[in-house]
């Protein structure tokens, strides 16, 4: 048995699918265990500290690995059997070192989803595949007014991934930056826009984590979320929901891919098998099976078959439209932050909570949080990443 210890595919159905559809094809039997970050991290830390362990392969998001970098085995020697892996992701997998700390495993991004009923209220002349934030706000305003309540949904709950929205969508769309222009005037405008949007956002959003649920119950009609967290809505009622790209701002249509990877801890009981399993995860067939199971897209070049689940078809099209848009402004996951990744995210979350939820003064909050951000960047010494211009030394917060 190889123990595959993962923070991904946690919902029970996905876990089950991973076991039955993805990993059953491997030559060895694999024990796939998905858990919350808390137990996941605690367990692997304990094994590393104890110097022995049972975990063979780790699966996690880019951010999950940052703290563990020192104890992950270099995977550059893994024989991938000729599959070509997305370069950017492979680069991210080095975690700022010379070694391949993790292999990219699957990717996803955030898109918008809407109930078809909502389309009737689209503002005059707006193209759903090329929305701007202003149009989105106008749309939501009409919806709220016409249907008697806010209909926009945003995953701002404790398990929601809201920080990625601010980092990869809101900031790039308004400031063409994630870090550098954190407290710029443009940023202030971005937050004000977001506040405007928030007025038409379902107030219960602060406990939402997976927008598919609220879409299905029709608590919200339009939502922003991770593709994997919208999948259930598309799969259950493919005819009722549409997917479309995130909106654009003055500096383009900011968006951000999310990447999950697999890594081998130095305490893995059987290094060879672990590496073999890592390689197996990158096989095109496995990648397609994974897509079916988890709605995370492949990180290797493959031809998708036609019989993919509805969610894949629908969100795949939206992703294509988003990345292929003229004003596309892709950003990258934070890099080189080490174990400060969590605090980095917290800066954005705090800013959101203070400005939007607590209603504090935008300027003051930005100034305040910029200090925190700067401290983090300096402590980590991480250079800037896209869409910020590469920097010498720590990425500056202007």
């Amino acid at each position: 048995d190889i123990l595959f210890w993962s923070t991904q595919a946690k919902p029970v159905e996905e876990t089950q699918a991973m076991r039955e559809q993805v990993l059953s094809g491997f030559s060895e039997s694999v024990d796939y265990q998905a858990s919350d970050t808390g137990p996941w991290l605690t367990r692997i830390q304990a094994e590393l500290e104890a110097g022995q362990g049972t975990i063979g392969l780790l699966g996690g998001l880019h951010g999950d690995f940052t703290t563990l970098a020192d104890n992950l085995v270099d995977l550059s020697d893994v024989d991938l059997g000729g599959v070509s892996v997305n370069d950017t992701f492979q680069q991210l997998g080095r975690l700022g070192t010379d070694e391949q700390k993790y292999l990219p495993w699957m990717q996803a991004t955030y898109i918008m989803a809407a109930n078809r009923k909502a389309l009737d209220y689209l503002p005059e002349g707006a193209d759903i595949n090329a929305l701007t934030y202003d149009e989105l706000i106008a749309w939501m305003k009409t919806l709220a007014e016409e249907t008697g309540g806010p209909k926009f949904g945003f995953p701002a709950g404790p398990k929601g991934l809201k920080h990625r929205f601010f980092q990869g969508y809101l900031y790039p769309s308004y400031t063409d930056s994630m870090v550098t222009k954190f407290r710029s005037a443009e940023a202030e405008e971005a937050w004000n826009k977001f506040k405007e949007l928030w007025a038409y956002t379902n107030p219960a959003s602060t406990s939402f984590a997976f927008m598919q649920e609220q879409l299905l119950t029709e608590e919200v009609w339009v939502a922003f979320d991770h593709t994997a967290r919208l999948a259930e809505a598309f799969n259950q009622r493919p005819d009722d929901f549409v997917a479309f790209p995130a909106p654009a701002g003055p500096t383009g249509r900011g968006f951000m891919p999310v990447v999950a990877g697999v890594a081998v801890p130095e305490t893995a009981p059987d290094m060879e098998k672990a590496k073999a399993l890592a390689a197996y995860m990158l096989k095109p067939e496995t990648q397609i099976a994974t897509l079916r199971a988890t709605n995370f897209f492949p990180v290797v070049d493959v031809e998708l078959p036609d019989d993919m689940p509805a969610a894949v078809r629908i969100s795949g099209a939206a992703i294509a439209a988003m990345s292929g848009a003229e004003d596309a402004n892709p950003g990258l996951l934070p890099m080189g932050l080490g174990d400060l990744g969590g605090k980095f995210n917290q800066v954005y979350n705090d800013t959101f909570e203070r400005i939007v939820l607590a209603g504090q003064d935008v300027r003051a909050v930005l100034d305040d949080q910029a200090e925190a951000l700067r401290a983090i960047m300096e402590e980590a010494g991480a250079p800037c990443w896209a869409p910020d211009e590469p920097s010498e030394g720590a990425c500056p917060v202007e």
């Binding site: 919350d36 008697g148 701002a156 709950g157 404790p158 219960a204 602060t206 605090k343 203070r354």
Partner: protein
């Protein structure tokens, strides 16, 4: 005489157990709260206290405990009294009332969220009764008060059974002759409750209060389910620092704060509800 050493002997297994499996790891964690790279510092406490959420989380936790625990005690006392006055069917009722005992906070959070959600049962009832035509939002970020009430209700539902069983077990040990004497000397049901049940139940009440208060300071799952990020509590913040922010030092500092207020309240209960040795049964 064996009298002297016996209590220590009786405590020995539990003590040894706790030393190995609690005190030792606890000391390791506690050390993290007050050290940085091996040297003593209060920096982490400062970081914690300076964080803008700290005082909100702190007061939310205290307020929740202050609201939930007394209500639970009152409800459990009511239930226990009803149970003791019941004839046939007592077992069944008691079983029903202790059902929530078996329900984890995780499950309780799910159930209560399903009730208070916008498309949840509460709105379903209200709308089928025609009281509302649009689902009302109960748990929105502006509805701090409703969230608070919802959390209190859920906690009340989930964790009153613990108090109930402690009290029922305690009441079972009060000799009925005392009630009879009180009755003859003019005490009505209420007076009997206040003058006989409550004082004689003091050890049980003390136990229930201490345990419940400590647990109340650790509320998390239900609050997170119902309140999301709107109702930060200490335990939630501890999680955030430990796992999201990956700062074990500050997380440990939070944990010590929880520990400190728990012990403070415990001491208060131990003091105020102490039964003098000579006044025991």
């Amino acid at each position: 005489m064996e009298q002297r050493s016996l209590p220590y002997l009786l405590l020995l297994p539990a003590t040894l157990f706790l030393c190995v499996f609690f005190i030792y790891p606890f000391l390791l964690v506690a050390w993290q709260a007050v050290s940085q790279d091996g040297s003593f510092t209060l920096e982490h406490f400062r970081t914690m206290a300076d964080h803008w959420k700290f005082s909100t989380a702190f007061w939310n936790t205290i307020l929740l405990a202050m609201a939930v625990v007394p209500l639970q005690l009152a409800l459990a006392l009511l239930m226990a009294t009803l149970v003791t006055r019941m004839g046939a069917g007592r077992d069944v009722i008691l079983y029903i009332w202790t059902i929530p005992l078996g329900i984890s906070d995780l499950a309780a959070g799910i159930i209560w969220l399903a009730i208070f959600e916008q498309t949840g049962f509460l709105n379903s009832i209200l709308s089928s009764l025609g009281l509302i035509d649009q689902p009302t939002t109960w748990l929105g970020y502006q509805d701090k008060a409703t969230i608070f009430i919802a959390v209190v209700l859920a906690e009340l539902w989930r964790a009153t059974a613990i108090v109930l069983v402690i009290l029922v077990a305690g009441m079972g040990l009060i000799p009925k002759e005392y009630y009879e004497a009180a009755e003859v000397f003019g005490a009505g049901p209420w007076k009997r409750f206040v003058r006989i049940t409550l004082p004689l139940l003091r050890p049980s009440i003390q136990t229930a209060l201490i345990l419940r208060t400590i647990l109340a300071f650790e509320v998390f799952a239900v609050v997170a389910a119902l309140g999301g990020t709107n109702l930060p509590v200490l335990m939630g913040e501890t999680y955030v620092w430990q796992f999201d922010l990956q700062d074990r030092h500050v997380a440990a500092a939070y944990a010590l704060v929880i520990l400190a207020i728990s012990i403070a309240f415990t001491l208060v209960f131990l003091r105020t509800l102490r039964v003098p040795k000579e006044a025991r049964i």
